[in-house]
Each structure stands twice: as C-alpha cells, then as structure tokens.
C-alpha cells in the first residue's frame, strides 16, 4: 500500500466473477471449500510478522476448521444491484492480519422470464495470489467436487505454492540489486497519473464489458500485449490531452507470468515479474510504430536479464508494502507510482466450462487500483468473449471518462457487443 494512504484502509482486493447459466448449490461449494482447506490451509491463513522483527509471511495451522472461510449466498434482483454488490466487495478491504484473505460469494438472480444466472465471486487480498492463481483455486475446488468423496488427486495433491529459488542468496542479492538500479534509471522524471491530484482517495469502481470480434478471424494479431498496450496508451493519451497533462513519458508495469506454460502451476504466492514500459502520449498517434517500440523495449529487458532480475527483486519484496518498491522508482518523493495499470490476464481455462453442475458463460477479473495511478485497464478472454475491465478510483477519473476509454479500445479492436 502506498505510504500516503496508510491510514485510509485502502482496499487491496481483487475480484474474480464467474457467471454460470444455472443455480449453484452453496452446500456443494462449502463441501469443496472445506475439502480443499483440509489439504491446503492457505485461504484461511493470516499475514504475520514475527515479534519483534522478521519477514512478513502467511501463517496457518495444519488443518483449517470446516466452515472457517466466509461463504455468502445472496439473491440479487437486477444487474445494477449485482454491480453495486460487486463494487462493495471490492471496497470492503480485507485485513489479512485479522481475517481470512479470501471471501467467496454466490450471487443469484431470480428465475422467471429470464434464465437463472448465478455469479460465483472470489474476493481476495491481492498479494495472496494473482488472477491465474484464483483460476487454479477454482479448478482445485471443481476437482474436489468431482472427486465426490474419493481422495482428490489420488492422494497426491499438486504443489500449491512455488518452489523456493534454488540459487544462493548472494546470487539472488546481486540480481535484486541490479534490478533496483535498473528501476531507478527507468524514467528521468516522475510519471503523471490521473490520481496525481487525489488527496483523499475515493471508492474503488469498475466497469466491465464483453465483446466479440466483428471479424472472428481478425483477432490474433490484436492479442499481442505490445499492441494492446499501445492501444490502451492511445486511450489514455486522449484523457491526458483533455486534462492538459504534459507529454511526459508514461511509465507502467507489465506483469510477466513466470509459470511454465501448459500447466496450471502454483496457486498461492507471487508468480509474477514485471517489465516496465515507457512511451510518450504523443507516440500513440502511430499505433503500429509504438507497438514495435514497445516490443523492442521488451526484447532489450529480456536480453539484459532484467525480467529475471525483477523476479528475484519481487521475491525480496514479498508481502512488504508497495512503498518499498516505490523507493526505487522515479517520483517516490511525490508519492507517484505509475501512469496507469494495464494487463492481459489471458484465457479463462476451457477446462472450467462446467462448474458445480452449471455451465460457465463468462468470467472476468476486477482488481482494485491504488489511488495513484487511479486507473487500470485489464483484458481477459472466456470462450469467444473478450472482457474489458476498467478499474478506477472515484476522484481520479469520472465514469464518463472511463466510458470513453472503453469506446476507444473497442473501436480499434474492431469489437462489437457480445450480448
């Protein structure tokens, strides 16, 4: 959390919302949750720091008490009410020192003329796991549900947390220091963000929209992260222009999933490293040219080993306040972080098409963003649906500005409304 907001109870929550085409039985989900907790207690762990000093770490007993994970089952009568409840979940900050870092909700709409829709919602304290970790957790729960009383995973559960880095501390220390030096040299001036002027943080908000490509064959090239980043930059540059912000370079972190491909990988803990993209708002006038520039930046970071080094630096920062990371970034004195956030969270696993007896229609993630930068744009896909989520902080940007950002991205993607 940014030091500036230490006393403000800023939410570090993230949501995963899974929409199903039929009812979900809370007792069945409770059984799966309790079954998982018997094997893996991390969803009810507490974040602790040994007295009088020591590293922050997750602490949990060997066995969790059944029912110790909150499970809410509630009816929602309209899409508007659903959204209000989801935003309330995003804002109800989880204090991981005093309560489980995960909450599970089942929100269902009534039957009638419309088919029953049920939304399975995970709300978690962001450092517990990343979005892919949440998808893995859901897959584990589905597996336990399907095991139907038999020993899940034939009694040999997968690894839920990453293996420790086998390299000696001296090597990791050197890499971590190298990454810090690199971060300090990233930008000559502090970045500007929509949250720069925010002194009292407002509520966390989000807008989610689902699209499909107008031309189903045309989507592949537009999935490249550099192209998407350039496009989000274009939408932000428009906002910068309206606000009269200077043409100072954007600075933003791009998450790199460290899990080996083709396998779910670990569920809990950090499996992300970061690449830092830099470009001026004015460069977004040429999307194709900017895509090449961003690709070259990424190649150079890979070639120099900066992404590996950042992964190591992240390990040293594990569960520590973001302000420690900010010590190494430009603009720390002004409490700035990045210009905006942007990530492509990838595909919702096809293996989760069926869940607790219902069919998954759509799934997306909505992370809260910090008051600075105050806005983030997140992509993911579920089946043919392309989800776009914009998270923001009230006061940093307005709903109209967010709607315009969505429209700029939709038009360039050549997307049409999915529903």
């Amino acid at each position: 959390m940014q030091a500036l907001w230490r006393r403000e109870k800023i939410s570090n929550n993230t949501l995963m919302v899974v929409e199903c085409d039929g009812p979900l039985d809370p007792a069945r989900i409770r059984r799966a949750l309790d079954g998982f907790l018997e094997i893996c207690p991390w969803p009810v762990a507490r974040l602790r720091r040994p007295f009088p000093w020591g590293k922050l770490h997750w602490a949990a007993g060997r066995r969790a008490v059944p029912g110790s994970l909150p499970l809410l089952h509630q009816r929602v009568d309209s899409p508007k009410l659903l959204h209000t409840m989801l935003e309330a979940e995003l804002n109800a900050a989880i204090d991981p020192r005093r309560e489980p870092p995960l909450r599970v909700s089942i929100l269902y709409s009534p039957g009638g003329r419309d088919a029953v829709r049920t939304f399975l919602v995970f709300t978690w304290f962001h450092p517990l796991m990343d979005p892919r970790g949440a998808q893995n957790l859901l897959a584990h729960l589905a597996h336990i549900d399907q095991a139907d009383g038999r020993a899940p995973w034939d009694g040999a559960p997968p690894a839920f947390v990453p293996e420790p880095d086998p390299r000696p501390l001296s090597v990791r220390g050197r890499m971590g220091r190298r990454s810090r030096a690199y971060m300090r040299a990233l930008a000559p001036t502090p970045p500007v963000s929509p949250g720069s002027g925010v002194t009292t943080p407002g509520r966390a908000r989000f807008l989610q929209a689902s699209f499909v490509y107008r031309d189903p064959a045309g989507g592949r090239a537009k999935r490249e992260i550099c192209w998407r980043l350039a496009l989000v930059g274009k939408a932000m540059a428009e906002l910068w222009s309206r606000r009269g912000f200077p043409d100072e370079p954007f600075l933003l972190p791009i998450s790199v999933d460290l899990r080996p491909k083709g396998d779910p990988g670990p569920t809990f803990g950090n499996m992300l490293a970061f690449h830092f993209a830099r470009f001026r708002p004015s460069e977004t006038a040429d999307l194709a040219g900017l895509t090449l520039t961003l690709r070259r930046q990424m190649v150079e970071a890979l070639r120099d080993g900066q992404i590996d080094a950042n992964a190591v630096a992240m390990e040293f920062l594990t569960y520590r306040p973001l302000s420690l990371m900010l010590n190494d970034l430009p603009g720390t004195a002004a409490r700035e972080t990045f210009s905006f956030n942007c990530a492509d969270l990838g595909d919702f696993p096809g293996s989760l098409e069926q869940l607790f007896g219902a069919r998954v229609i759509d799934a997306y993630h909505a992370p809260s963003v910090l008051p600075r930068p105050g806005i983030g744009v997140f992509f993911n896909r579920c089946g043919k649906e392309n989800n776009l989520v914009v998270s923001w902080i009230d006061g940093a940007v307005s709903e109209d500005e967010v709607t315009r950002i969505v429209e700029v991205i939709r038009a360039e993607m050549d997307w049409i409304e999915a529903h």
Binding site: R220, I225, P260, K261, G262, D263, M298, V299, L302, D344
Partner: protein, 97 residues
C-alpha cells in the same frame, strides 16, 4: 540446387527444417513449457499457452542460435504459428543469405 563445396552442403544439412525443429522444441520444452506439456512441431503455440513474452524468448534464442533477428514485418502468423512454421522460416532465411 547449384554446385556447393563440402562445407556448404554440411550447412544445408544442418539447417534442414527437421533439424531446426528439434533444436527449437528442445529449447521451448526446456525453458518455456511445463515438463508435462512438451510441444509438438505442429502444435499451435498460442493454444499451447505461449504468450507474447514467450515468443520474444524464442526470437532471442533464434538470434543466438542462427545469427539473425526476425524482423517485425516477418512476425506474421504463417511464420510463427507453430514450431514447424518457425523452422521453415529459419531454413528459408538461412538459405537466402
């Protein structure tokens, strides 16, 4: 094929697509894929889970192994969709140079 000396023939044999496929799949399986999910030459790399960053790692490997950087204009689906497509591209590029 035009007349070549023994050294050139050896180069042509070494850079046959099948040999390149083997080198590429070994690299991808060792550094990008999970042990339980090795790639096959005709697997769609995106469907196999490779993202933009993984593709850039492959391009860096190609540069180190075969001595050239794949230019941006050649990063089109027909050249990068599968390991076989990449190998065919590398083979063609090398025989042109």
């Amino acid at each position: 094929m035009s007349r070549r000396n023994a050294g050139e023939s050896l180069t042509v044999i070494r850079l046959a697509p099948d040999a390149i496929i083997k080198v590429l799949t070994t690299f991808i399986d060792a550094t990008i894929m999970a042990r339980s999910h090795p790639v096959q030459p005709d697997d769609d790399l995106e469907l196999a889970g490779l993202d933009s960053m993984a593709l850039l790692k492959i391009l860096l490997f190609i540069e180190a192994e075969y001595g050239f950087w794949m230019p941006d204009e050649d990063l089109v689906e027909e050249n990068i969709r599968t390991v076989r497509a990449l190998a065919t591209y590398i083979s063609r590029r090398r025989s042109e140079s």
